[in-house]
Every structure is written in structure tokens, then in C-alpha cells.
């Protein structure tokens, strides 16, 4: 037994040496990172860990905790993994530092698209982009002679045709789970119609004809969906696709790879990736990015070490090893079948998620207010009026309006 322990210990001691080989240097400063927990973050933080003295916390509840974590002095983490939305509170509270000097010193290889600027200063380094786009069952569409839907009239017509044909359990899936899922779906549709959410005086701009039109359409779409649509999140939709229960849905680009995973999917190679269908003006989708920030409440030496480690994690080597995890912005990424839908969505003019404090509040009240319309508890006008009231109460408490 003792021999075994000794042997195991020896292996453990040796292991880091061989792991470090993938990192260009040997990191001496203790570095911690905090980010969301999806696969792309796992790949990046694993690559960072190769430099040694590095610890990553991956947490899907990231945006509930990051403000507190980075408010501590010294900050609990050095590197933060953010998206366009979760960057806002960190910026507003001055919890992250400008990166211009560090980029000049260690980041010459970064492409301009990766540098996230606010008021001229670089505040974050993006590593990937993500968007919801249309996925559909090419085999079924070809068999029934249905063309790829370009706008939402097409989508409704296709859904009706699929329903008549009865080849799948439900023609459509959607990420309409109560809360942020359905909130973001509304934001997608509303942006697609060409809407803006917040007026200059921070009052909401959704309780109008455009908002009514979006809800009316959601009511029509609902008829072609699983009746349990209000518990349907990205994983649920992905599984419905994989099990052949639905024939089309707007789903995250990061989920595209799972369609061809032979261990889970019964529809390998049959799901086509296309641009999100258009509303009146542009595709009903939002563009998102994920990237890293460096905490403000740490010493300059630590910040420098953290930035170096982050650059090692976000290098070409990592991208080549994990090409299908995301649509990387990093050099060396080879776009393929899985990124085609998101690229087409962006090319058709989809807008980035318009992150701001009032938008965050609106997102939240949309998520909790919309389900009542889907269940039929409230009609469209009441739903929008109630969401507006909820927004006004929260915005007043926050100090956005008097």
C-alpha cells in the first residue's frame, strides 16, 4: 500500500512538468479565474492551467456572483469571463481595469475584432461570438419539398406544412423557458421588427403596436410547439432535435455541434444551419460575445501575470484543439458547417444585444411577465401593460427615472 501511495505521489509530482510543456513559460504568480461554465470556457481555462499556479472556477450562475467577487479588495479572482451583458455592472462599478498597456505589451497578435472598447479604452478581450440561428431538419424539408424559411411568414407556413405532414411530434421548438430564455426570445423578435427598447428618458418602449405584433406572432408560433414550451431551455430544445421530435428551432450556435454527436443524436448530418428568420427589418436574433476582463482590485504585477496566462489560454493552439466548441475570434479558427448559421445571421444584419442598466431591468421583467401570455392567463395588451408597470417600479427603485 505504501509503495502504491509513493508511486501515485511520484506520478502527481511529475504530471505538472509534462502539462506545462504546452505553455510557453512557467507562471509563478497565483492566478484565479471566474467564468461561466460552458464547454468553450472549459477549453480555455484548461489551456490557461497549463502554465501552472492557476485555478479556474466555472459557474453557470456566474452573473449572480461576479460583482460581489470582484468588489472585494483584493478581488477574489484575477481573470473574469464575461459576455456583453455581464460586462455592464463590472464597468459601472469600476471593477475592471483598462487593458491598453497590457495589450501593447503582450497582445500584439490579437485581432482588432477581439478588442472590446468603451470610450476609447480597451476593457475586455473577446474570444468567441455566439448567436441563435435557425436549425432545421434538411431531410424532412427536402422530402416534403419545403424551402428554407427566410422570414416569419415563411416560418408559420412551414410549421403548418410540417403539422399537416405529421412527420414529427411538434413542428417547432424554441427556447421559451420562463425567465431569461423567453425574455431573450422576445428581445430577438422585437429587434427583428426594428424596435428600440428604451427611450432617452429611460422609459420602456415596448407597450406599443410593435410589441403587440410580436406577442401576436408568439401566440401563433405557440400552436406549433410542445405544450410544455415554458420549461424548454437550450438543452431541452437540443435534445428534442437529437431525438427527432422537432423539425426546426432557433438555437444557439454553440449547440450546433451536438446535432452531429453520434453518442446522443439520432439525426447526425441531417440538421442544416441557416440564418435566423427575419422580422420586418432584420434577423430575429442577437449577437453575443464572450471574453476576459482583468480585475481592478489587484496589484499591477498580478494583473500582468494574469493577462499573460489569459493570452496563453486564448492562443491558436487551444483553438486548433477545440475548433468545434465555439465560433472563436482567435487566429487559427477554421469556420465550418456549425458556424455557418451564425455567420449568415450576422451577415444578414442581426444586431448585438444592446446591453445597459435599463435594458437589464427590462430583460428581467420580460422574462417573468411573458409566461402569463403564453399560458393564456393574460391577453397581449394586459401582458405588455403589466411588464411596463413592473419595469417602471424597478427603474424608479434603481433611480433611473424620477
Amino acid at each position: 500500500m505504501r509503495k502504491f501511495v509513493a508511486a501515485a505521489f511520484a506520478v502527481l509530482m511529475l504530471a505538472p512538468g509534462s502539462l506545462w510543456a504546452a505553455c510557453a513559460y512557467d507562471n509563478q504568480t497565483e492566478i484565479k479565474s471566474f467564468s461561466a461554465g460552458f464547454q468553450a470556457w472549459k477549453s480555455v481555462t484548461d489551456a490557461m492551467a497549463e502554465c501552472g499556479n492557476f485555478q479556474a472556477v466555472l459557474d453557470q450562475e456566474f452573473d449572480q456572483k461576479h460583482v460581489e467577487a470582484f468588489s472585494a479588495n483584493p478581488s477574489l479572482y484575477h481573470i473574469g469571463g464575461v459576455a456583453n451583458s455581464s460586462l455592464v455592472p463590472l464597468l459601472n462599478n469600476d471593477l475592471i481595469r483598462p487593458l491598453d498597456d497590457l495589450v501593447a505589451k503582450y497582445g500584439s497578435h490579437l485581432s482588432d475584432a477581439q478588442l472590446i472598447r468603451k470610450d476609447g479604452k480597451i476593457v475586455a478581450i473577446a474570444m468567441m461570438v455566439n448567436a441563435k440561428h435557425l436549425m432545421y431538419r434538411q431531410d424532412i424539408f427536402e422530402e416534403l419539398g419545403i424551402a428554407e424559411p427566410k422570414n416569419y411568414d415563411d416560418v408559420l407556413a412551414v410549421a403548418e406544412a410540417l403539422k399537416q405532414a405529421g412527420v414529427v411530434e411538434y413542428p417547432m421548438g424554441a427556447t421559451w423557458k420562463a425567465g431569461s430564455n423567453i425574455g431573450l426570445s422576445f428581445i430577438d423578435y422585437f429587434l427583428g421588427e426594428g424596435g428600440t427598447f428604451i427611450n432617452d428618458d429611460n422609459t420602456p418602449n415596448i407597450n406599443n403596436e410593435m410589441g403587440m405584433a410580436v406577442l401576436e406572432r408568439m401566440g401563433k408560433l405557440k400552436e406549433y410547439m410542445d405544450p410544455e414550451i415554458l420549461v424548454s431551455d437550450s438543452t431541452y430544445v437540443q435534445q428534442q432535435f437529437q431525438q427527432g421530435k422537432i423539425a426546426m428551432a432557433n438555437l444557439w450556435a454553440t449547440r450546433a455541434g451536438a446535432m452531429d454527436n453520434p453518442d446522443e443524436s439520432t439525426v447526425v448530418g441531417k440538421v442544416a444551419m441557416a440564418s435566423a428568420a427575419k422580422g420586418a427589418v432584420r434577423p430575429a436574433s442577437t449577437l453575443w460575445w464572450d471574453g476576459i476582463v482583468i480585475a481592478a482590485n489587484i496589484s499591477d504585477e498580478e494583473a500582468e501575470a494574469a493577462f499573460q496566462v489569459a493570452m496563453e489560454g486564448m492562443d491558436t493552439e487551444m483553438v486548433q484543439a477545440n475548433n468545434s466548441d465555439a465560433i472563436w475570434l482567435i487566429e487559427g479558427y477554421a469556420p465550418g458547417r456549425f458556424s455557418a448559421g451564425a455567420s449568415a445571421t450576422a451577415a444578414n444584419g442581426a444586431l448585438p444585444y444592446p446591453a445597459s442598466v435599463p435594458m437589464g431591468i427590462l430583460f428581467n421583467v420580460l422574462g417573468s411577465g411573458l409566461p402569463a401570455f403564453i399560458t393564456g392567463e393574460k391577453d397581449a395588451a394586459t401582458t405588455l401593460a403589466d411588464i411596463e408597470t413592473e419595469y417602471l417600479v424597478a427603474a424608479r427603485e434603481e433611480g433611473l427615472i424620477q
Partner: protein, 338 residues
């Protein structure tokens, strides 16, 4: 016991109760009358977002918090009286036309409706089921009692959220029990597509989860039933039901009151079921509402004011619902002293 000795014994727990229960309560109570706002200014900022190969920069007017010379956010705290209570109760709208649907359109009343129904329906079921199991086990052969007790305690041992999740997975989508029901009844069933089925599952789960606790307490109580009284009841010609009605239940009455008290307090704070069954689009509870007010939104804001007001309303609700039982206990207590 001398008063000083008595004081010495209870002082530590009194102190802890003050620190961990009384002070936070007072602080929440005070907080519910104040609101803290951040001062915002509208500024033009240019922000750039990476696209697919291109970068889009837009200049837009955004509300940004004002900062003082130290870089801290400028905030203002002001006394607002009952404003937060008004914001959650929304009395004018709730009672505008005295219709049930306009009352249920407001989160607080919707949550109160479910919380009350949930509490009052599960109470008799949990007590009844607990008593039934206790009686059954008590009449079982000595040899198998240990095993039976162990098995009936299992639901109580499982962590509430885990228990709720496992029942949810049995029914969600084409879960095995839904699939079985569909095959058996030959119809399409979606358990998570309407409120009443979800409510039914939540109540079923709660009764399943707490009945073992009632069972253990009643089972202990059954061991102390006076056998002489039971035997004389048999001689007097009382049948099984009459013995239960006139001997056993009166004997267990203090325990029934005790379990009711615990159950009312526990189930009025129903929360795990909402999370476990992700029922928030159909059914919410008062505790869930507090939680929702405290949850940070995308841009990092939360409503402490309304969360405090809602907590106070929950407290008041629990006190009201406990009054009849406390009154009864107090009367019994006085009768015993006299």
C-alpha cells in the same frame, strides 16, 4: 429552579436568537420603509462589438451611474413609507373590478393564493397519512417493524430539492410515468402544460416528503397509549374505529397540534417545489417572490425594498395562520394549570 440559574441556562440561546433572528428581522422591517437609488446620468458612449470578421461600433446614449471623486457610486437613501408595500400589493388594480382574474394578475395575490391552498390542503393529508402509517406499523408483527420504519422514513431523508427534481424527471416531457399514463389512458398527457397538474404534483410531493416526520412522532405517541383504557374500551364493546376516535386520537391530540404548527410554518414558506418543478410560469409562492426580488438581473440590480416588504408580509401571514392553533395551545395550557 432559581431565576438566576434559569437565566444562566437560557442566556446563550437567547443571545443567539437575538443576533440571528430578532436583529435581522428588525433590520428587514426598517429596510422595507426605505429605498436606495443610484444617481444616473445620460451620456453618449461609443461601444464596439466584435462581429463575424468585422467590428461594429455604435455611439448611443446610455444611462450611466454617477461617481464621486473617490470613484464610488453616488447613492441616495430616502424614507418612502409604505411605497414598497404598495408596489407589491397593488391594491387599486387588484380590487379595481373585484374580479378574480384581475386579482390573480398581480404576483403577490397569485402567490398568496397558491401558498394558502398548498398549506391548507397538505396539512390534513400529511397528518392523516402519517397517522395511517403509524397505526399500520404499530399493528405489524414485531419482526418486520424495523425494516418498515426504515423504508417509510426514506422520503424524509432525501434533500427536498433533490426529491422534487426526481419527481419532476418522472413526469416532464415523456418521462416514464407520463409515458405510462399515456399508454394506460390512451391519451396525450403534458403534466407541465397547465397549473393544476403541477400543483397536484407539488402537493403530492410535499405530503410524500413530510408524512414520515408525522409518522415518527405519532408512532412514538402510540407507544404511550394506556393499554388499560384500550382494554376497557374493548370490553365496553367499542370497535376498532371507535377506539381510534375516542381513545387514541384524544391521546395524540397534543402531538397533532405540534405537527400542525410545524407543518403550517414549513409549508407557508414553500420554495423548493417551485425550484424543483420549475413551475414559476404557472405557480409561484410568497417565498419565491422574495427570492425573485433578490435575484440580480443582467445589469446587476435587485430590489431589496420589495424583497423586504414581501418578507414582512410573509411573516405577518404565518402569524395569522398560526393564531388559532396557538390560541388552542394557550387554552389547554391554562386549563392544565388551573
Amino acid at each position: 429552579m432559581k431565576f438566576r440559574v434559569f437565566l444562566g441556562f437560557i442566556a446563550p440561546s437567547m443571545f443567539l436568537m437575538l443576533v440571528f433572528i430578532a436583529f435581522p428581522l428588525v433590520s428587514v422591517f426598517i429596510q422595507s420603509f426605505y429605498t436606495t437609488t443610484t444617481v444616473y446620468e445620460n451620456v453618449e458612449v461609443e461601444s464596439c462589438t466584435p462581429g463575424f470578421g468585422t467590428t461594429t461600433c455604435i455611439t448611443e446614449t446610455v444611462a450611466q451611474p454617477l461617481k464621486d471623486e473617490n470613484g464610488d457610486l453616488v447613492t441616495e437613501t430616502s424614507f418612502v413609507g409604505l411605497e414598497s408595500y404598495k408596489n407589491i400589493l397593488r391594491l387599486e388594480e387588484a380590487f379595481s373590478d373585484f374580479s378574480w382574474s384581475s386579482l390573480m394578475a398581480i404576483d403577490f395575490w397569485k402567490a398568496l393564493r397558491f401558498t394558502l391552498v398548498f398549506t391548507l390542503v397538505t396539512l390534513p393529508l400529511a397528518i392523516g397519512l402519517g397517522l395511517l402509517i403509524a397505526l399500520a406499523v404499530n399493528n405489524f408483527t414485531q419482526r418486520l417493524r424495523g425494516q418498515i420504519i426504515f423504508i417509510s422514513l426514506l422520503p424524509f431523508i432525501i434533500t427536498p430539492v433533490i426529491g422534487a427534481l426526481s419527481i419532476r424527471w418522472l413526469f416532464i416531457g415523456d418521462g416514464i410515468l407520463t409515458a405510462f399514463l399515456e399508454w394506460w389512458l390512451e391519451m396525450d398527457i403534458a403534466m407541465f402544460a397547465q397549473a393544476w397538474t403541477i400543483e397536484l404534483m407539488m402537493m403530492f410531493y410535499r405530503v410524500w416528503h413530510v408524512a414520515p416526520f408525522a409518522f415518527v412522532v405519532f408512532y412514538a405517541g402510540l407507544q404511550t397509549v394506556n393499554n388499560d383504557t384500550l382494554e376497557s374500551a374493548v370490553i365496553d364493546g367499542a370497535n376498532r374505529f371507535e377506539r381510534l376516535r375516542y381513545v387514541i386520537i384524544p391521546h395524540l391530540m397534543p402531538l397533532i397540534v405540534f405537527i400542525s404548527l410545524i407543518h403550517l410554518m414549513d409549508s407557508y414558506r414553500v420554495f423548493e417545489e417551485i425550484v424543483g418543478f420549475s413551475s414559476q410560469s404557472y405557480v409561484i409562492s410568497l417565498q419565491w417572490l422574495t427570492y425573485e426580488f433578490l435575484t440580480l438581473d443582467e445589469s446587476g440590480t435587485r430590489s431589496i425594498e420589495r424583497a423586504s416588504a414581501n418578507s414582512m408580509m410573509t411573516m405577518i401571514g404565518i402569524v395569522i395562520i398560526l393564531i388559532p392553533l396557538l390560541q388552542k395551545t394557550w387554552r389547554d395550557h391554562k386549563a392544565r394549570i388551573l
